[in-house]
């Protein structure tokens, strides 16, 4: 199998998953598409090194995360406006209740990424730390802080999940 064939096989198998992760991060399908495109292009360019990775999916996620953080660096406020915190009272009406995705959007980008990797992608603390290039202790402390923040934001009927 040539490098191109190996890349294509991997990319076809993982593109949807990568785009979903990207969407979880940015909440914009078009931006998620762009980020996935960027990540796959970078992965293609470094395929020979990537192919030697112990966990190729995690390696691809790492590139995607960096593409997302790069994007955050370049733009000021193009992300979905749902990231804007709604002021008090949103729990008073079910219609105004924050969803989990809304609540995630309230977290800083790296904290959001940590929660998504830990609880959506089911990565271990160590894997998450490796993908994000941060110490495991940071993943642990930020996870704790992020869950507390989510607990604060989400409606009472959802809080049971965090028992």
């Amino acid at each position: 199998m040539t490098d191109d064939e190996a890349f294509a096989e991997f990319a076809h198998a993982q593109a949807e998953r990568l785009r979903t992760t990207a969407f979880m991060l940015c909440r914009d399908w078009h931006l998620a598409q762009d980020l996935t495109q960027t990540a796959l292009t970078r992965l293609y360019l470094g395929w020979r090194k990537a192919a030697q990775a112990d966990n190729l999916v995690a390696y691809a996620q790492k590139i995607l995360l960096r593409a997302y953080l790069d994007h955050r660096r370049r733009r000021s406020s193009t992300e979905s406006a749902t990231g804007v915190l709604r002021e008090g009272g949103y729990r008073e009406s079910p219609d105004l209740r924050l969803t989990m995705m809304d609540a995630l959007a309230q977290l800083p980008p790296r904290d959001r990424a940590i929660v998504i990797l830990r609880y959506f992608e089911d990565y271990s603390v160590e894997q998450t730390a490796e993908v994000l290039d941060v110490p495991a202790s940071v993943v642990k402390s930020q996870t704790k802080r992020s869950l507390a923040k989510l607990r604060e934001l989400l409606a009472a009927d959802q809080l049971a999940l965090f028992g």
């Binding site: 294509a8 996935t36 495109q37 293609y44 660096r73 989990m100 995705m101 995630l104 830990r118 959506f120």
Partner: protein, 282 residues
């Protein structure tokens, strides 16, 4: 809790109506091939506006000029790469003319001017001892030996398998970022075994590649030196910074004969010793 949290996320995701995935993979491969072609050709700044290419012939009069008898490659002089201040009298790219001071932060950018290139003679026989495959660490080793005196720090390598390195150089005015990349051209330029073609570009909208010097070498190797006017992304911004080198200094680095897809074994070994582990950037 983990499963419940994941279930909640997936439940909300299931309500989404994502657009068709399209040919993401094919497009990524086409883009990747295009970028590789650009790199091979030494073309720069894919997707960025190139403000102009400064005439190298005008910039590099004297020993750098094409018709001035060529430039000798910088002399080798050991300078252990470390975060410590480089000692006084540490190596400078010899053969270079008196060097102008780096541009200060906030100073006007070099003028976008005419587009041309120049050729310089390089000492192709210099430093051709036992060879080993080039590594990023060897590139940093050579780069730190070629830099003018100053404190170096923030060493890094590019993501992927590219030969692409970064460091900061502080010459007393604060750190400035320099990146050097190296690749093999599709075919060597056909103007002589000891001549390299040079281009200097100023990218008005790209602080990481504010000035880009490319040396297209006789063996097909392309050496690119990027002089930044900002620092690497720190999680919040690319903090503005002064240029750590002048274009002339970058040229003197780019034409050093020791760059190549294989490099002197002593550089490779010293690089592995001094830079055993390097963080990735971008």
């Amino acid at each position: 809790m983990t499963e419940e949290l994941r279930t909640l996320m997936r439940s909300e995701l299931s309500a989404e109506r994502p657009p068709p995935l399209g040919d993401l993979v094919g497009t990524a491969m086409r883009d990747g091939r295009r970028i590789r072609r650009i790199r091979r050709l030494g073309a720069l700044g894919a997707g960025t506006a190139v403000a102009g290419i400064v005439a190298l012939a005008a910039t590099l009069s004297g020993p750098f000029g094409a018709g001035a008898g060529g430039v000798q490659a910088p002399a080798a002089a050991p300078a252990p790469p470390s975060a410590a201040a480089t000692p006084p009298g540490a190596p400078t790219p010899s053969g270079a003319p008196a060097l102008e001071a780096p541009r200060r932060l906030g100073a006007p950018a070099p003028p976008a001017a005419t587009a041309t290139a120049s050729r310089v003679r390089i000492d192709v026989n210099r430093g051709r001892g036992p060879q080993m495959k080039a590594t990023s660490a060897a590139m940093l080793e050579l780069l730190t030996r070629l830099l003018p005196p100053g404190r170096t720090s923030n060493y890094g390598v590019a993501t992927g398998d590219d030969l692409h390195v970064q460091l900061y150089l502080d010459r007393g005015r604060g750190p400035g970022m320099i990146r050097v990349s190296m690749g093999k051209g599709a075919s060597p330029p056909g103007y002589g075994a000891d001549m390299a073609e040079l281009t200097i570009e100023h990218l008005a909208d790209n602080c990481i590649q504010s000035t880009v010097v490319d040396a297209f070498r006789p063996d097909g190797t392309i050496v690119q030196v990027d002089i930044a006017t900002c620092l690497a992304w720190d999680g919040k911004q690319n903090k503005p910074a002064g240029a750590a080198l002048t274009a002339k200094q970058a040229v003197a680095i780019a034409v050093d004969a020791r760059w190549g897809m294989t490099m002197d074994a002593d550089l490779v070994l010293a690089g592995a010793k001094h830079f055993p582990s390097l963080p990735e950037f971008g």
